[in-house]
């Protein structure tokens, strides 16, 4: 073995729910020792990296992932990952992934939100450098985290978010960074001819002079693909390419993908949409919680099986026992709510003392629906009734007064907390005037914060420390304290456990259950099916802007939710929510 990895693991502390682990990684390789650039983030010695990892359970870090992989005579892979492990700060998102992508094959990668699909793809395409592991090209390891090198090898990633310069024309975008030049001048004519040819290949009939800003999203997508194939391409990675396409446009994209596969390109297709995956792919890799569950021939798996493999987990003991709500009165009733382009015709009731789950894929309109209810977003139509009376809220502060409702944002750093402020200032920002409308009574504020620190078990070593220095879990606790400080009757938790450690997750689950038990109406918007199933009394499933199903009691299962969310099951005909 020319390259050596030692992972030295020392368990420092033993927690009940989770254990933090200090990992001292000694990364050495005779070949790389001379190339210091490979580990630029390493500390002074260049060979040691110290990182704290936060692990859900014991010894999983080094446990080999269970994989069923046929080793029969398949053609050699062009791109492969070997023991890819990746951590963002304290959160490990990929555990020792081994995968092979073969020329001429469409390989689907599926998994729930946060399963690690996009991270894996970014590593494959050289955007990210993995914490551990190798990427192989044609059987040989290549330098990871080098986008340019991967592009030269013909590995192209088409992002979930499009990567075009809006103000440049189609032609300029196609050749951005790869312009053909004659001396100091651009070779306009030559690029034009090449550009036209490549657009033809993807079946796009638009003017090369059009600014990309003026294109439809689907056209942009195709321009992106055209850009990818205008240079040599051996592996084409598409990260949720159909998220914004109509069915017709999707059809055309499939034809293009097919033709590329036939031409010997390895296609990696990342998607949530099981029908598409089933139809398009030859093989399928399922990721769950950063682990590779299985890689199999697509034909061998039914959609139901795929869903089961995607969601099946065993963290159920994190959740408090479900106590059915004692009250039956409505806290809120929503009738035919519309947000142009984001939510259409949503009607449902929210009862006091219940936890109502909102499930669905990202972009299904769950967040937007509740933002509209809370006056954070403009609704074009619809009624909000509280105690049978219509209530109007044009701003969040009005909604807080008239509905006594609060919203915990899914975007902690973008919408929830001012990262440059300290924890206390963040805590008191919502409803600051309770500490005095003319002057802020700082002693009262400090005391209130001290109480919140105790109540929510927030770990702040210094009050004036900017909140960006706290861990994700502690930041989330500050955000919870901020939102709950006003004693609300209706609480909307939007992805309350995103990017935080398991211990804090469990605390938050208990907190939500406690809030409901106190008679407050709780809404849980989450992409983690496990917490929806583990916590909610009722679940509303949304799919492309609409409510498609309402589930209650034993009908709340991960499989059932996923089937509605992905559109495998058609919407429930009668919805009485």
């Amino acid at each position: 073995m020319s390259k050596l990895h030692w992972a030295l693991q020392a368990t420092l502390l033993d927690g009940r729910d989770a254990r933090p682990t200090l990992i001292l990684e000694l990364v050495g390789s005779s070949r790389y020792w001379s190339k210091r650039s490979r580990y630029p983030r390493a500390s002074g010695l260049g060979l040691f990296r110290v990182a704290t990892h936060f692990m859900p359970t014991d010894q999983e870090y080094l446990r080999p992932t269970q994989q069923r992989q046929e080793t029969s005579n398949r053609p050699a892979s062009i791109l492969a990952t070997r023991n890819i492990t990746h951590a963002f700060g304290p959160v490990t998102v990929l555990y020792s992934i081994n995968s092979d992508f073969v020329p001429g094959e469409v390989h689907a990668v599926v998994g729930e939100n946060g399963a690690g699909k996009s991270t894996l793809m970014k590593i494959c395409s050289g955007i990210l450098r993995p914490s551990l592991g190798e990427v192989h090209y044609a059987g040989k390891p290549v330098e990871t985290g080098n986008l340019r090198k991967m592009e030269n090898l013909g590995i192209r990633l088409i992002h979930q978010e499009l990567n075009l310069a809006d103000d440049l024309t189609v032609l300029e975008n196609l050749f951005l960074g790869a312009e053909t030049v004659w001396g100091p001048f651009l070779e306009e004519k030559k690029m034009r001819a090449e550009g036209r040819a490549v657009l033809e290949r993807v079946g796009l009939d638009i003017s090369l002079n059009k600014p990309v800003r003026d294109l439809r999203v689907s056209e942009k997508q195709l321009v992106e693909i055209a850009k990818a194939i205008s240079q040599r391409v051996t592996v084409l990675i598409l990260d949720e390419p159909t998220a914004t396409l109509t069915s017709q446009e999707t059809e055309r994209l499939f034809q293009i993908i097919d033709s590329f596969a036939k031409a010997g390109v390895a296609i990696v297709y990342v998607s949530h949409r099981l029908e598409e995956v089933k139809r398009l792919s030859h093989r399928i890799t399922i990721l769950r919680d950063g682990r590779l569950v299985t890689t199999q021939k697509t034909a061998d798996l039914s959609p139901n099986e795929i869903v089961r493999l995607m969601v099946g987990r065993s963290l159920h003991d994190l959740f408090p026992a479900k106590i059915p709500p004692t009250e039956t009165t409505n806290a809120l009733e929503i009738r035919d709510l519309n947000v142009p382009g984001l939510v259409s015709g949503a009607s449902f009731k929210l009862k006091k003392g219940e936890i109502l789950g909102f499930a669905g894929l990202i972009g299904a309109g769950r967040t937007e629906l509740w933002e509209a209810v809370l006056g954070l977003r403009h609704a074009s139509r619809g009624k909000i009734l509280r105690d049978g009376k219509e209530v109007r809220a044009n701003s969040y502060s009005q909604a807080m007064q008239r509905l006594n409702a609060v919203y915990l944002s899914e975007d902690r750093k973008g919408k929830g907390l001012v990262v440059s402020f300290d924890a206390q200032t963040n805590y008191s920002l919502l409803g600051l005037k309770r500490f005095g409308s003319w002057l802020v009574d700082e002693r009262k504020e400090r005391n209130a914060f001290r109480q919140a620190v105790e109540q929510f078990q927030i770990k702040v070593s210094e009050r004036s420390m900017p909140i960006s220095r706290l861990s994700g879990g502690n930041q989330q606790k500050v955000l919870l304290a901020k939102v709950l400080a006003l004693d609300p009757e209706i609480i909307v938790f939007d992805e309350p456990t995103r990017g935080i450690d398991v211990g804090t997750k469990a605390q938050i689950y208990h907190l939500i259950a406690k809030m409901a038990a106190e008679g407050r109406a709780c809404v849980l918007i989450s992409s983690e099916l496990l917490e929806i199933v583990g916590l909610c009394h009722r679940v509303i499933v949304m799919r492309s802007q609409q409510i498609v199903a309402g589930l209650e009691g034993p009908a709340i299962t991960e499989d059932e939710i996923m089937l509605y969310a992905t559109g495998v099951k058609s919407p429930q005909p009668t919805l009485a929510l």
């Binding site: 254990r19 933090p20 919203y407 001012v418 402020f421 200032t425 078990q457």
Partner: protein, 341 residues
Amino acid sequence: MKSAELAETPVAQRGSRLRLKGVGQWARNAGPLAALILLMILGMMLNPSFLSWNNISNVLTRSAFTGIISVGGTFVIVTGQIDLSVGAMAAFIASLMIIVMNQFADAGWSLPVAVAVGMLIGLLVGLLSGLVNGLLATLGKIDSFIVTLGTMGIFRSLVTFVANGGTLTLNSNIREVYRPVFYESWLNIPIPVWVLGVVVIAGAIVLAKTPFGRYCRAVGSNAEVAHYSAIHVNRIRVIAFILQGFCVGLATLLYVPRLGSASSSTGLLWELEAITAVVVGGTALRGGSGRVSGSIIGALILTLIGNILNLTNIISVYLNGAVQGVIILGAALLQRNSRTR
């Protein structure tokens, strides 16, 4: 110690990081004050008359215009905006005040009443101008830089227009009545310095101690978070502009009796002086954090540089701008250093 805390920061770094941050914070807070003290020591060494009460009150009085405007400017900049129109606005207000006072005096009103009405109108026009700037920047969704660039041009050219390309002069009988507002003293301290003091203290309290002040910082740090904290982001931004307009009005009330005239060159470059004062005082130009006390120190530093150059012969007075430029760059470097991690 519980587990979550460990995950926060790598153990080895925790202590040192905190200490470093403390130093940065201290440099940003005390830097401007230290610079001011250094300048004063320098002035003292170069010319003994520097410390005379006459010279000090002269420096303070000269700082009053920029100082008062920079208090409003602190609010605008802390909310993440900028106001380039203040100099032109001051000239515009000054010319309106002169016209109004002259008209009322000519119409036979008693002179003190004419002056009072003129002053009131000056303040009102300031408030209104701020409101217009604010509304254009928020409801009009135009970047405040562009908005105030536009209104700056409009104000400036309106002044030239009403003055018919020349100079508007206050009638001498009115000037006699109005003069004390700039030239008189109370308890041996000139009136403009009193006004400056009141504005600075009020501004400092509003920015540091009231919900509004904190909302300003929240809006400037992250408008989205402010929106999701039930803060009316646009309202805060407009109020900041109105405060700026009010401060410009107030500064102009003190400025008009000084010369008793207004022309197209009145208040020239005040906007840059005010912005410089705010930034030298440690307020981040991108918004989110700042202190009124820093801004006034910044204004004093700027005046002191001119004053010291005037009192000594080491550097030519013509290099005043260059020395100010060096100070600005130094302040910017200091701020940058305190933010690097």
